[in-house]
């Protein structure tokens, strides 16, 4: 029996500590980990809780992130509640095994503290690793601050382990900006948190000797397609479960999450769509610009990066004339991936807004309120002119000559 952990009504935790407390409160059975900056404290703290008797669990130190996720898969297939954490290069090394976890429908929780991918080597936060996971078949939930990292990590267990979902879940937070910045957090008591998460219920556990099973079978063109389709449908169908879990968590805490978060969108004429801690910067900029310059601007942000809320995104942006979509990942010879997805969503809406793409904040480059305001003013200029007045893709916060691509052909 795990020892009781004294917890205050208000704690001062950073995002890493918040996530590790959620793992403790969920009484995770196994963490197989290969710690990496900036996510190290998540698994370090879990090991600490185990060593000091606050969790009845097992911390498995492995030799790489590939092995970390492999260990998690073994433990999850055996029938345990399993979690780990990683970032950047570690996430990249884990990539192959991420697809195994989702294909085997194992509800592992992975705390991803977003960090840039080398080269050049960089430990700061951008979304390159989060983007790398976007086709892996995992649910991807995005926390914008430390308290949300706590809340959403608890929710992740409920969502992934739901009998109609049974999929692994990533909970993302921004490296350093969220993971290492302490803020006031209102945690649940251990009892309330565990009651919310509930006991782990196994499906096809390998340690059930009365029903031996094979995990990881090979299929070729005769079966592979059907299995991937079933998996995709489960991911799409998880949307209603996510809504339900968020609603239940809202009743418990007063903190209400939605798969697409809208801020000041009721009468918005222009909008900025972003991810991660940037969303809070954008909200401050939007509020100030409404007061200072009367620009009707709103901020939209997906809480769920996967499954992508295609229809909710279109609905949230249905009334605006111009949209800036912010990608914090080097697009590698295309428009930003997030821009493409938001554009596809609004393409089906009647207002046919003007959408532009900003590549910003790579390798942890600061994104200021002033820069957010400049981008918002530019959207206002597009809306007033009735056409895109700049290049469609621009770099924001970059030193040197202005860098941008693609001219708008329609007016």
């Amino acid at each position: 029996m795990a020892k009781k952990y004294d917890i205050n009504e208000v704690e001062v935790w950073d995002g890493n500590y918040a996530a590790s407390q959620a793992l403790r409160q969920a009484q995770v059975d196994v963490v197989a980990a290969y710690p990496i900056t900036p996510s190290t404290p998540v698994v370090e703290n879990y090991g600490n809780y185990v060593a000091n008797g606050y969790i009845d669990g097992e911390y498995v130190m492995v030799e790489s992130e590939h092995a970390a996720m492999s260990g998690c898969i073994g433990a999850a297939a055996s029938g345990g509640r399993v979690a780990t954490a990683t970032s950047s290069q570690g996430f990249a090394l884990m990539a192959e095994v991420l697809y195994q976890a989702s294909g085997m429908r194992l509800p592992i929780v992975l705390v991803v503290v977003n960090r840039a991918l080398a080269s050049p080597l960089n430990v700061r936060g951008d979304h390159a690793d989060m983007y790398l996971g976007r086709d892996s078949g995992w649910i991807q939930i995005d926390a914008f601050n430390a308290e949300e990292a706590y809340d959403l990590t608890l929710c992740a267990f409920r969502i992934g382990e739901h009998m109609s979902v049974r999929l692994p879940v990533m909970v993302h937070q921004d490296g350093f900006i969220t993971s290492h910045t302490a803020q006031n957090i209102h945690p649940l008591s251990d009892e309330a948190a565990y009651k919310f998460v509930g006991d782990y219920k196994g499906v096809d556990d390998m340690l059930d000797f009365s029903k031996p099973v094979t995990y990881g079978a090979q299929t070729e063109e005769d079966w592979h397609f059907e299995h991937k389709a079933k998996q995709h449908k489960a991911l799409m169908d998880s949307r209603t479960v996510i809504d339900g879990v968020f609603a239940e968590y809202g009743k418990l805490t007063g903190r209400n999450y939605k798969r697409v978060e809208s801020y000041m969108m009721e009468d918005a004429e222009v909008a900025v769509v972003g991810l991660g801690s940037t969303v809070e910067t954008l909200r401050v900029a939007a509020k100030q610009l409404r007061e200072e310059e009367g620009i009707k601007v709103g901020i939209v942000a997906p809480r769920c990066f996967r499954p992508f809320a295609f229809d909710e995104m279109a609905d949230a942006l249905s009334g605006v004339k111009a949209i800036a979509v912010l990608d914090r990942s080097s697009p590698g010879g295309a428009m930003g991936a997030f821009f493409n997805e938001v554009s596809a969503a609004v393409l089906s809406s009647a207002n046919r807004p003007l959408v532009t793409n900003f590549i910003y904040g790579l390798g942890g480059r600061d994104f200021s309120i002033q820069e957010a305001k400049r981008i918002i003013r530019e959207q206002k200029a597009h809306a007033d002119a009735g056409h895109i007045t700049t290049q469609i893709q621009q770099f924001s916060g970059l030193r040197g000559p202005k860098l941008g691509f693609f001219e708008a052909k329609r007016s």
């Binding site: 294909g103 085997m104 429908r105 194992l106 049974r166 499906v203 096809d204 000797f209 009365s210 029903k211 031996p212 099973v213 094979t214 995990y215 990881g216 079978a217 299929t219 005769d222 079966w223 397609f225 059907e226 299995h227 389709a229 079933k230 449908k233 489960a234």
Partner: protein, 147 residues
């Protein structure tokens, strides 16, 4: 060769998956495949032919279609030493009560390990082309080699 065991069990009845190609809504969650029907807690104490193998178990499927040469077993020479049974990598030597009964051609891949480890003179197991009839093969079995 005793055909008793081969006659009562259900091994090698089909190509895996070939008889029932179901749609995406009917495939198992997570490609998890069960090995047995019903409670299998005591399965290890049962002989193969007594077990309730599931359709997903390769025991009930033919997985030897790519074999091009096959071992043929000569009961008249065999001393039931069980060497082939121990060494066969595909559990394709059928033996009961320490008596060699024959070869499971639905799972044998034709690797020739059984022939290599057979200690008799001449060998009690020899490789022949896949199409060779067992009776024809037995009729041309070599004589004992003398120094």
């Amino acid at each position: 060769m005793s055909k008793g065991i081969l006659a009562v069990d259900n091994r090698g009845k089909r190509e895996l998956g070939a008889d029932k190609l179901v749609g995406w809504d009917e495939v198992t969650q997570g490609i998890v495949l069960t090995s047995f029907e019903g409670d299998a807690a005591n399965i290890a104490s049962l002989k193969a032919e007594e077990r309730t193998y599931s359709d997903f178990n390769s025991y009930t499927a033919t997985v030897a279609s790519w074999r091009v040469i096959k071992p043929i077993y000569n009961r008249d020479i065999c001393i039931d030493c069980q060497n082939c049974w121990v060494w066969c990598p595909d559990s394709s030597i059928i033996s009961r009560d320490k008596q060699m009964l024959g070869i499971d051609y639905d799972h044998c891949k034709g690797c020739q390990v059984c022939v290599e480890v057979c200690p008799t003179n001449p060998k009690s197991l020899l490789m022949f082309v896949e199409a060779e009839e067992i009776e024809t093969a037995l009729a041309q079995w070599p004589e004992k080699k003398k120094n």
